[in-house]
């Protein structure tokens, strides 16, 4: 179902591009960023102020990506698509498919292989600045964006006490490329109610209000084709317990260190080591379960392929 959505959006974008807006692939290599887990242009975890794709303000471009994140007890698979319009507006869609690999993690009796699934629809507008051209200025490129997320995991959401199965994240991102230092810097503030990026619903017993969360990325350009970086992302703390019995510990921030390789303006590959903290950090102690079976920090690899047209 998600691939059909992606394909139809891709078809529309191609028609749009053909219908008059040119495809000039005019941006310098790597200056469209890559695709983050919710589908927006940016790093691997954090949305940036850059507009996805290689089109300048004179064109419309499409990027399609697939991201695979095998973690300690889960696997995240996130295919998605983004359209960059005139280096001003970005529209995106990503499916987040979160498969539970460890039976012990869900004392609620959910099977291994159970999939939490979420659709994320995103929109971003560049407000001011240009990350590449404004070298003799301290002004960064600034963008405002939103991500509408929709879940279908009623069982799990009820068990963890989430208030909603859908929600909207709002964010402001400021990105700047310091060419003199070959360094890209991003600072993003996100207003969200999402638990674990939304996979465990929105809001909870502890809080159902929007909270500001800070996110940031740093990337060093080693060569035209190769960048190395790190990211950090804070998360809110809305949930208190699982099935009303087992306490859920606070969510920690997520971070990654990544390497991005840009083969050309059509293909890029990003590989990262990622730590998403403890997901649904449910304490199993009340069940008398051995501590060694307690949920652990979800760490693992992050692999993403992006094709740009």
């Amino acid at each position: 179902m998600h691939f059909k959505t992606i394909l139809s959006i891709a078809a529309c974008a191609v028609l749009l591009a053909g219908a008059g807006a040119s495809a000039d692939e005019g941006k310098l290599l790597a200056t469209g960023g890559v695709s983050q887990v919710e589908g927006a242009g940016g790093g691997g975890l954090v949305p940036w102020a850059l507009i996805a794709g290689y089109e300048t303000r004179d064109g419309v471009g499409v990027t399609v990506h697939d991201t695979y994140v095998p973690l300690s007890d889960f696997t995240l698979h996130s295919p998605g698509i983004a359209i960059g319009l005139f280096d001003r507006v970005e529209l995106s869609y990503a499916a987040d498919l979160f498969v539970i690999d460890n039976q012990n993690l869900m004392p609620g009796g959910l099977q291994k292989g159970y999939t939490l699934h979420q659709d994320v629809y995103g929109a971003k507008v560049r407000l001011v600045g240009d990350a590449v051209y404004d070298q003799d200025s301290w002004l960064p490129q600034v963008a405002a964006g939103l991500q509408y997320k929709r879940n279908d995991n009623e069982t799990v959401l009820k068990a963890v006490g989430a208030k909603d199965s859908s929600g909207v994240d709002f964010y402001f991102a400021a990105t700047k490329l310091f060419l003199a230092q070959s360094l890209l810097v991003d600072a993003t503030v996100r207003f969200t109610k999402a638990n674990q990026f939304g996979l465990l619903g929105f809001g909870g017993p502890r809080s159902d209000a929007y909270q500001p969360e800070f996110e940031g990325s740093l990337a060093y350009l080693f060569s035209k084709r190769f960048a190395l970086g790190a990211e950090y992302r804070m998360k809110p703390n809305n949930l208190t317990d699982f099935a009303g019995v087992l306490p859920i510990h606070g969510e920690r921030g997520a971070y990654d260190v990544f390497a991005a390789y840009f083969l050309n303006k059509n293909l890029s590959l990003t590989a990262a080591y990622v730590d998403l903290g403890r997901i649904a950090d449910v304490s199993l102690a009340p069940l008398g379960v051995d501590k060694s079976l307690e949920p652990r920090s979800q760490r693992g690899a992050y692999l993403s392929l992006q094709f740009a047209y």
Binding site: E25, L28, D87, S137, A180, L221, K224
Partner: protein, 163 residues
């Protein structure tokens, strides 16, 4: 006021005017035919970048290679039809040396003036930067050093791109 005093004051004013006029040309933020803002990356005070680029010889070498490529480029070659490539190479070499803090002065026209009405787009501007990167690659200029020069040229987008 006596006539003598008047002439003294008059001479002092002329002297001040002259020195300020000379200093205006020596405005450190006006280099390579372009006015930089007083922020972010500006032309360096010392000659560190000039030396890192390989000095006059290497700069002349990659600039000559660069000009040879852009006049034949599929995308931007048409802007250079009928242009005297030797003169263009000399002008650009002087510009790059001046921008990087070396011992040469750019004596050509302002960037805004030379590009007025050409209809240069962002894609054209970026293409030129890409070709310059290739030319610098061929002379083994380290990528971080390349970025320092490209960073000085990037700001010129506001004067060069008119479409």
């Amino acid at each position: 006021m006596t006539i003598r005093k008047f002439f003294l004051v008059y001479a002092a004013c002329c002297g001040l005017l002259l020195t300020s006029a000379v200093r205006a040309d020596e405005n450190p933020l006006h280099k390579g035919g372009f006015h930089y803002n007083e922020a972010g990356q500006t032309p360096p005070q010392g000659d560190g970048l000039y030396k890192d680029l390989g000095g006059s010889e290497k700069i002349a070498a990659f600039t000559s290679d660069f000009v040879g490529m852009i006049v034949k480029d599929d995308q931007i070659g048409h802007f250079f039809q009928g242009v005297n490539t030797d003169r263009l190479t000399r002008m650009l070499t002087a510009q790059f040396i001046e921008l990087s803090g070396g011992p040469a002065s750019y004596k050509g026209r302002e960037m805004a003036e030379t590009h007025a009405g050409m209809g240069v787009t962002n894609a054209d501007f970026n293409r030129l930067a890409e070709v310059l990167q290739i030319a610098m690659d061929r002379q083994d200029v380290p990528f971080s050093t390349q970025n320092r020069l490209v960073g000085l040229l990037a700001s010129m987008q506001r004067d060069v791109v008119t479409k």
